[in-house]
């Protein structure tokens, strides 16, 4: 039996020698957005004829570090990193760099100068975009509530920063309340229900992602009101909601584009070609006018 095992591993090794093997760790595989990103990367990898192994980081940076360690000992040629946290996932990059393996960051930046390349966008921009949209809608004056992502997560911190950047410019916009709903639709709904009880004068809801904004909208509709809400990501439900005037807009983040681009860039890096430091894939606003186009892209 021992011999057999060896034989098997040998064939496996030769297989991997011929084929480029890359690993990808995502901060989670439990939400639509990252799944979309992972699927796009997988499709691209297949198209390019390379092997891609996808890991679920379970919202935990130390798990992601462990996974990078696993990938290194597993003999990956390159790594795509979608970090849970910009700071805490830096050791992932260091470890890979020490092992001489290129790392491409995707979707969320990681604070390390050893990163081979970054494909994605800046979450601060998303915050700014959605807040600006609401400011325009309210003509620079009114009361809003903010539903935040899990406290301490990079996306939450940066989107909140973007929101604040705009708020600082419009002192007449008042934040009545803000609370985390952990990216969750049902939590977003509950929080909104309570706020609707507490405040009669909410003019708009700013959600740091679509799920929570959609939850808030459910609460608003159930209360027989119509308070505009906005979210980030452009998930399928959000696109539908924008189409049905249920959401004012969603800030679309091209997960699929990021995923496939990251694979391309990483393969270039593995093959020794020079790659740029950043490939920006910008946030785009989805509104009633352009939603059709986004729905097609999302397919």
């Amino acid at each position: 039996a021992d011999k057999d095992a060896k034989k098997e591993s040998n064939t496996e090794d030769t297989q991997t020698e011929g084929k480029v093997k890359i690993g990808m760790t995502l901060y989670s595989l439990k939400n639509e957005f990252t799944v979309r990103l992972a699927n796009a990367a997988e499709a691209k990898a297949e198209e390019l004829g390379i092997e891609l192994v996808v890991y679920d980081g379970n919202y935990d940076p130390s798990t992601q570090i462990s996974q990078v360690e696993t990938m290194i000992s597993d003999g990956c040629d390159g790594i795509i990193l979608n970090p849970q946290d910009a700071e805490a996932c830096a050791p992932c990059v260091d470890k890979a760099a020490d092992a001489g393996i290129p790392v491409v960051g995707v979707n969320t930046r990681v604070k390390s100068d050893k990163l081979t390349s970054y494909v994605g966008s800046i979450d601060v921009t998303a915050g700014e975009m959605e807040m600006q949209k609401i400011v325009d809608l309210l003509d620079g004056k009114g009361n809003i509530v903010i539903i935040e992502g899990p406290m301490g997560q990079s996306a939450q911190i940066e989107r909140r920063e973007g929101i604040q950047n705009i708020l600082d410019k419009y002192p007449d916009i008042k934040v009545l309340a803000e609370k985390t709903a952990n990216w969750s639709r049902s939590e977003g709904m509950t929080v909104m229900e309570n706020w609707l009880q507490a405040f009669d004068n909410i003019d708009a809801v700013v959600g740091e992602n679509d799920e929570m904004a959609l939850g808030a909208r459910e609460a608003i509709k159930a209360a027989g009101k119509d308070i505009p809400a906005i979210g980030v990501d452009g998930i399928t439900d959000a696109l539908n909601a924008v189409e049905e005037d249920n959401l004012v807009a969603s800030i679309f983040q091209d997960g699929a584009g990021q995923g496939s681009k990251a694979v391309e860039v990483l393969l270039d890096a593995i093959n020794g070609e020079t790659v740029e430091e950043n490939y920006w894939i910008d946030f785009e606003e989805v509104n009633k006018d352009n939603v059709e186009e986004f729905k097609q892209r999302a397919q």
Binding site: K30, S184, R185, M189, Q197, A198
Partner: protein, 320 residues
């Protein structure tokens, strides 16, 4: 003088017996004072509707806890049953709402039965068996939907969580209905007696001719069934099947049962305590949101409230 003493004893015994009720009242008075809009019929209905899901889970958990068990899988069962109900309830499938409800209940019952069999017949500790199920049921849920939301549910289905009968939101009515059934089951039927006996002393229960294994198995089925119901309501409330839904709900459900004075070592407990338990949790979440307390402070205050409410219950024992 004499009378005074008697009254004092009265108050003391009351606090000893009903400490959590006093806790609930204190919390409610506090929120009412801080925020006038807290104690309105509208907000109370709102709070009850929100808490109905945790309420259902906590009631199921009470059965489990009474036998000395624990069910960590309720949150995942909520997710699984909600997801399968959603898959059936999509408008494009064209099934009536009650079929979707049935699917949700059956999924819950089935997963609960698996728990029960593993625990009572294969003798795996409840903590491990239901922890395993927590993981398995969530995995199945993700597979069923590939982590994507399942929207577009039929109107009939959506009214389970969103509708009202007259003034009363349907989830509240369901909760009350379930409470009555469970109260009768626990206190008025032979089955209820067997549940208490099994938790209090399984050996004595067995000697008395009770099929202890069957009883143990059955409480997980009850918990699963109620989780299934909660899953359907939640899905209907958020208007789509979500793979993540119910995540972590087990903690609140166990907390409600324990705050209510049910001992995790079994045999000692009370259903009314569980009601107070989930009301405390519901009032706390609602009140803190209404007061717009910052997320950080909410965490600290919640912790203090949970401990404080129970402390009233135990303070009296200390003096003894």
């Amino acid at each position: 003088m004499e009378k005074d003493k008697e009254q004092k004893i009265g108050v003391k015994t009351f606090i000893a017996k009903y400490g959590v009720i006093v806790g609930l009242v204190i919390i409610m008075v506090f929120f009412t004072v801080m925020k006038a809009k807290f104690l309105t019929v509208e907000n109370m209905l709102n709070m009850l509707r929100q808490t109905s899901i945790n309420g259902l889970l906590a009631i199921g958990m009470t059965f489990v806890v009474l036998t000395g068990g624990i069910d960590l899988s309720v949150g995942s069962i909520v997710g699984a049953s909600g997801m399968f109900a959603a898959l059936v309830a999509r408008t494009e499938v064209g099934m009536p709402w009650y079929l979707a409800l049935l699917v949700g209940l059956l999924v819950g019952l089935l997963l609960g039965a698996v728990n029960g069999v593993i625990i009572s017949y294969l003798r795996v500790p409840a903590f491990i068996a239901t922890l395993g199920m927590l993981s398995i049921a969530r995995g199945i849920t993700f597979m069923a939907s590939d982590a994507k939301p399942v929207p577009g549910l039929s109107k009939g289905f959506l009214s389970i969580g969103g509708g009202s009968v007259g003034f009363f939101p349907i989830p509240i009515l369901i909760l009350i209905f379930v409470l009555i059934i469970c109260y009768i089951t626990l206190y008025k039927t032979r089955y209820g007696r067997y549940v208490f006996a099994t938790g209090g002393n399984p050996t004595s229960a067995r000697v008395s001719g009770i099929n202890v294994k069957l009883i143990t198995c059955s409480v997980y089925m009850i918990s699963g069934l109620l989780s299934g119901l909660a899953g359907v309501i939640l899905t209907s409330r958020v208007t789509s099947g979500l793979a993540q839904s119910g995540n972590g709900y087990e903690v609140d459900a166990i907390a409600a049962a324990v705050i209510g004075g049910n001992s995790l070592s079994g045999g000692r407990g009370r259903l009314w305590g569980t009601i107070i338990g989930f009301l405390i949790m519901g009032v706390m979440n609602n009140g803190l949101d209404m007061m717009a307390v910052s997320s950080y402070w909410q965490l600290v205050i919640k912790g203090i409230i949970i401990i404080g409410a129970v402390m009233l219950d135990s303070l009296n024992e200390i003096k003894e």
